[in-house]
C-alpha cells in the first residue's frame, strides 16, 4: 500500500501541509509530525479523554479520528489556549485550585471545559460534571477540577463585565 496523502491541517491558527499515510490518527500526527505533545496519549479507546482536542470548538477524542478527516476544521490543542504567554483563565484556575497533579489529564480537561464555557458561560455543577464525564483523572479526585472550572467561569464573566 503506497498511499501518502498530502493533507493540510489548521492547528491553533497555523496551517501545516504534510504528507501522511491514511491510517495515522490526528493524535499521532499532532504529537509526532507537528511536535505538539501537549495532547496526551493514553487509552487509545475513547475512554479517558486525555487526547481531547477541539474541532471547530467541539471536543473530540483525537485517538479515534483519522488525521485526514480533520482537514478543513479549526483544530485547537492545549498549546493554543494561552495567548502571548498569558494563561487562559481556565489554566490559571486549574493551577490555583490544585486541579493539576501529574497533569496528564489536564490538557483534555481544560479543552473540554473550554468547549463547555464557550457555549454555556455559567454552568451549574451538574453541567460541569456532565461535560467531563468522558475524562479520567487518577490524581485529583475531580472536585478541584470542577471547582476550577466554575471559578474560571466566574472570572471570565467578571472580565466580560469590565471589558
Amino acid at each position: 500500500m503506497k498511499q501518502l496523502l498530502p493533507i493540510s491541517l489548521n492547528v491553533n491558527g497555523d496551517s501545516y501541509d504534510i504528507a501522511i499515510p491514511p491510517w495515522r490518527t490526528l493524535l499521532e500526527v499532532l504529537r509526532e509530525n507537528l511536535g505538539l505533545t501537549g495532547t496526551k496519549k493514553s487509552c487509545l479507546e475513547g475512554q479517558c479523554g486525555a487526547c481531547t482536542v477541539l474541532l471547530d470548538g467541539k471536543p473530540v477524542n483525537s485517538c479515534l479520528l483519522l488525521a485526514v478527516e480533520a482537514q478543513g476544521k479549526e483544530i485547537t490543542t492545549i498549546e493554543g489556549l494561552a495567548r502571548d504567554g498569558v494563561l487562559h483563565p481556565l489554566q490559571k484556575a486549574f493551577v490555583e485550585h490544585g486541579a493539576i497533579q501529574c497533569g496528564f489529564c489536564s490538557p483534555g480537561m481544560a479543552l473540554a471545559a473550554k468547549a463547555l464555557l464557550d457555549r454555556n458561560p455559567n454552568p451549574s455543577e451538574d453541567e460541569v460534571r456532565h461535560a467531563i464525564v468522558g475524562h479520567l483523572c487518577r490524581c485529583t479526585g475531580y472536585f478541584q477540577i470542577i471547582e476550577a472550572i466554575r471559578d474560571a467561569a466566574a472570572e471570565m464573566a467578571r472580565k466580560d463585565v469590565q471589558a
Binding site: E28, K58, L65, L66, V68, V133, H135
Partner: protein, 303 residues
Amino acid sequence: MTYLRRLPKFEYVGARSVREVSDLLARRPDETRLLAGGTDLILQMRRREVAPRYLVGLKGVSELAFVRQQEDGGMTMGALTTFQDIETSPLIREKYGILSQTASQIGGVEIRGVATIGGNLMGAQPCSDFPAPLITLGAKVKLVGKDGERLVALEDFFPEYGRTVAAPDEILTEILLPATSKLSGGCYLKFHDRHAMDMTITGAAAFVTLNDDRQTCSELKIALSSSAPVPKRVKKAGAFLQGKKLTEDALEETAALACQEAEPRSSWRARREFRLELIRGLTKRAVRQAWEEVMATANGGRK
C-alpha cells in the same frame, strides 16, 4: 506495544455523495468498510478485530446528515445524524423524547459529537443502545444498493449476533419513524458501571400508547438491549398489558414475561441471573415512566 496499537494499514477515500459510496462499495464489498463517526470501527481496527483494506470516509457525505419532519407527521433522519444531534434536536426532543433520552445516556460529549445513528445500527452489537428504543417506535431503515433501494423494519434488521440483513453492497442511508399519537410516550433505561462511559450491561425500552379513556393501554412495545444475541423485542410482555390499567400486578407480570422471552448470556460483565434481575427491574421502571410521561403530556398538553 505502542507500535501494535497503531492502526492497521488501509487505503482511504473520502466520499462526497451516496452515489460515490455505493460505487466504491460495489467494487470490493468484502474488503471495504464504511467509516462514519469511527467510535466503534477505529477501536475494532486498533484491536485487530477487523482490518479492512479499503475505508470509505463518510464524514463529507452531507446529504446523510439531516433530521426532517414528514408530511404524515412522522420523521426521518439521515444515517450520519450524531448522538448529539439526537440529544439536542428540538423536533426529536418533542416528538421522540425516548431517543434524546437514549442519546444523553451514551458516552461523554466527545463521543456523542461524532458517533452516528447509522454506525450504531450497522455495528449490530447487542449492547448498542439505539436499536431497542427505535424498535419500540416502529422504525424502518432505508438501504441503498446497486440494484436500488428498500425499506426494512428495524425489528427484522438483525437476523443473528453481529449481523444485519443489509447486503455487502448496501448502505443504510436513513431511519424512518412513524407519527406518534398524542397519547403515547416512551422511556429507555439502562444499567452500566461507570456512568455514561461503559458498555450497556442491560437496557430496556418501552413505548406505550393509551386508549382515549387515558386509563388503559392501547399498545405497548418493549425491546431490550444486551439481553439476547440481537436487540430483542419482547412481544408477549408488550401484549400482556393491552387493554389493561397500569397496576402493580400487571407490571410485575409484564416484567416476568420479558424475562421469559429474553435470552441473556453470562459474560465477564454480568452473569445471566444478574441480567435477568436487571431486565425485570428496568422493564418495570421503563414501562411505568413511559406511562407517566403520557399522563404528564396528555394533561399538560405538550405535544
